[in-house]
């Protein structure tokens, strides 16, 4: 796709702040661990308008997904009910540019855990 738009690669300060704010709103400022949550996303988006992701955090009450490189960081929040067999869900999201996608889970015991995964949004073309 020669001629597509440019990719911003350094997260502007404002976007970083927006992410921090969204995280704080979800966690209430609690400490965040890193074990027990998985975010599966493609290395390179086939289409930035529809990027498949899956989050999995056994025992989570809810999982929030954030994308700081988008115009606003919120993406989706999964709240798991009593009949959720696993605390795992998939969806498809929009990514404006190459960025880290973040997932933060609130566990049943009130702890928070997070992970992130970089998804590259490329112009593409010119394969071999």
């Amino acid at each position: 796709a020669l001629g597509a738009t440019a990719a911003a690669l350094v997260l502007p300060q404002a976007a970083r702040a927006a992410i921090d704010e969204a995280v704080a709103a979800f966690t209430g400022g609690a400490e965040i661990g890193s074990e027990g949550i998985t975010l599966t996303a493609p290395e390179i988006a086939e289409n930035g308008n529809t990027v498949p992701i899956e989050v999995d955090a056994p025992g989570a009450v809810s999982i929030i997904v954030l994308a700081g490189g988008n115009p606003s960081p919120g993406v989706v929040t999964f709240n798991f009910g009593p009949l959720a067999a696993e605390q795992r869900a998939s969806t498809r999201i929009r990514l404006a540019t190459t960025q880290d996608v973040h997932a933060i889970a609130k566990l049943a015991d009130g702890r928070f855990v997070q992970t992130s995964s970089e998804v590259k949004v490329t112009i593409g073309g010119c394969g071999g």
Binding site: A6, K120, I123, G125, C126, G127, G128
Partner: protein, 540 residues
């Protein structure tokens, strides 16, 4: 001269080339990336094939003398000619053209005479790359690979025929499994093709898992197969390996179109794969590359090589293997008459069209390499001249035959370098900034430190512009000193430039097909005189 050629060829015999079996009794034959080349051709291997990250200086990122040193190949030998680029013209005149499906058929039949159970596996990029394949929508190649006795294949450029044609072939014409563990439908996220086929051969249960090119919707026009998603999907691959092992597979083979560096990482990330038959990056490596308990086999491209793998199985598991990369010297290996007739039949309707002479080359035309080859320069010159542009962009395709100095350039040669389903030669304006963004993006898809971010093409070829590149830098910082060659001035980020190119992945791209542009240019020039391209400087 003819004396040295005769002497060289007398030292080579068909039976020496094909060899005999190793200790293993399960025999697998691998061909890949034939790009619809059915008759012997000239094909020069890369001079520049740079590795990054962990791959620096390791196969396949070795060329010329370093390649010879790694594998103990004598300079000027037949294998040197087949596997490296140096003295290509002189050695070519000695050892002759390589490939040809009729010669490959001879090799396959010879192996099967000894091992009737031998599996023949095709790594894909089979149905695209020639005028007959383009005009028959791959029908010629499907017919030939059926006749060859292919047992399974995976894919890449196959999908550029469009999903309807692929479906038609897979359902009605192919006659053997079309495997892709990593192809999913985009609506319900369910597997679009069978992931594997279980064979029982030589008393052994062997699973062949297919892995199509992961970056199809990015590197090729996704509108041609809008409902498919690919990706590496290593977790899926791991679960398929578990599934086939649970189903009794004693040997697990991954028939892959990932590209070599991606497969090297897969071998480390996904346990339980015995052999990866790699494809896409067109590397020919004379020995298996071992990663943990997995062996990677790279069998080249364009029909230049056939790999024979003899696997020793004992107690329900692979104990070891021997690999022979068989070079298809067309003057040494006798054509199989049946296949020769079939190849002739598929070419006959297009023979007059293909053999038309368009001009002459007074130097070698070749494409393979990370940066511009002389074929690319010719295509870029054609775009600059015929489409009246300041800058030309040509994709980093790795396919296309070479043309020897003094040889007539025929229409077949041009199609060998350009035949595909999105050939429109566009003409547009781009700012200097956009040009930089495009080149940085492509460079990152080639030189990213992490193989899973490498799409395995070569760098986009550029005409009318020079640049300097540090391949080890990060995206956005690799390119510098972008210069408009016609004026010698630095590219201005804010100025608009007239850019011509082809093979855009965008739907609705307009322009004449690139082969018409190149043909007109060659006819106008009469004789094409390639010269070394010094406008790209590789730093670091």
């Amino acid at each position: 001269g003819s004396w040295s050629r005769l002497a060289a060829q007398q030292r080579l015999t068909q039976s020496d080339l094909i060899g005999t079996s190793g200790p293993g009794t399960l025999t697998v034959i691998h061909v890949t990336d034939i790009h619809a080349q059915t008759v012997p051709l000239w094909f020069r291997e890369p001079e520049v094939n740079l590795g990054v990250g962990d791959a620096v200086g390791r196969p396949p990122h070795l060329t010329g003398a370093a390649f010879r040193a790694e594998f103990g190949i004598e300079k000027g030998s037949a294998l040197d000619y087949a596997l490296t680029y140096e003295d290509f013209v002189a050695l070519g005149r000695t050892y002759g053209r390589m490939g040809g499906l009729d010669r490959i058929a001879t090799v396959v039949k010879a192996i099967r005479a000894e091992r009737p159970d031998a599996l023949l596996l095709d790594g894909g990029d089979t149905w695209q790359g020639s005028l007959p394949a383009l005009k028959t929508q791959g029908a010629d190649m499907v017919k030939l690979f059926r006749a060859l006795g292919t047992n399974a294949m995976t894919s890449h450029f196959e999908f550029t025929l469009g999903i309807d044609r692929v479906t038609e072939i897979v359902e009605n014409e192919l006659g053997f499994p079309f495997l892709a563990a990593n192809a999913y439908d985009t609506t319900w996220d369910e597997p679009a093709y069978p992931a594997f086929e279980l064979f029982e051969r030589a008393g052994t249960k062997v699973a062949v898992i297919g892995q199509a090119f992961p970056y199809l919707p990015i590197a090729n026009p996704k509108w041609l197969f809008p409902d498919l998603s690919f990706g590496i999907r290593k977790d899926r691959l791991a679960s398929v390996v578990d599934e086939v092992r649970a189903g009794g597979a004693e040997v697990v083979i991954l028939l892959s179109h990932n590209g070599f560096d991606v497969d090297r990482k897969i071998a480390a990330d996904v346990p339980g794969i015995d052999v990866i038959l790699t494809g896409h990056t067109h590397d020919a490596i004379p020995e298996p590359v071992q990663v943990g308990q997995t062996f990677l086999i790279a069998s080249g491209s364009h029909g230049k090589f056939v790999s024979r793998v003899d696997i020793d199985v004992d107690g329900g598991a692979m104990k070891g293997l021997t690999h022979r990369l068989i070079p298809i010297f067309s003057d040494v290996i006798a054509p199989d008459p049946e296949m020769a007739a079939l190849v002739e039949e598929t070419r006959a309707p297009f023979k007059a069209e293909m053999s038309e002479v368009l001009g002459k080359a007074d130097g070698l035309l070749y494409r393979r390499g990370n940066f511009n080859g002389t074929w690319d320069d010719l295509i870029c010159d054609a775009l600059l001249t015929e489409r009246d542009a300041e800058i030309a962009l040509s994709p980093g395709f790795r396919w296309g035959s070479s043309v020897m100095p003094g040889e007539d350039i025929t229409r077949e040669h041009v199609f060998n370098a350009t035949a595909m389903s999105y050939p429109q030669a566009y003409r547009t304006e781009m700012t200097g900034e956009t040009l930089k963004t495009v080149l940085e993006d492509v460079a990152d898809n080639l030189f990213n430190q992490d193989p899973y971010y490498q799409q395995g093409g070569d760098m986009v070829r550029v005409g009318g512009m020079g640049y300097r590149i540090d391949i080890h830098a990060k995206i956005g910082a690799r390119l510098s000193d972008m210069t408009l060659l016609s004026t010698g001035e630095a590219i201005d980020p804010t100025r608009s430039y007239v850019v011509a190119g082809w093979a855009s992945v965008n739907e609705g791209t307009e322009g004449p097909p690139i082969w018409d542009v190149v043909e007109a240019h060659i006819r106008n020039k009469g004789t094409v005189s390639p010269s070394p391209n010094t406008s790209v400087v590789v730093a670091g």
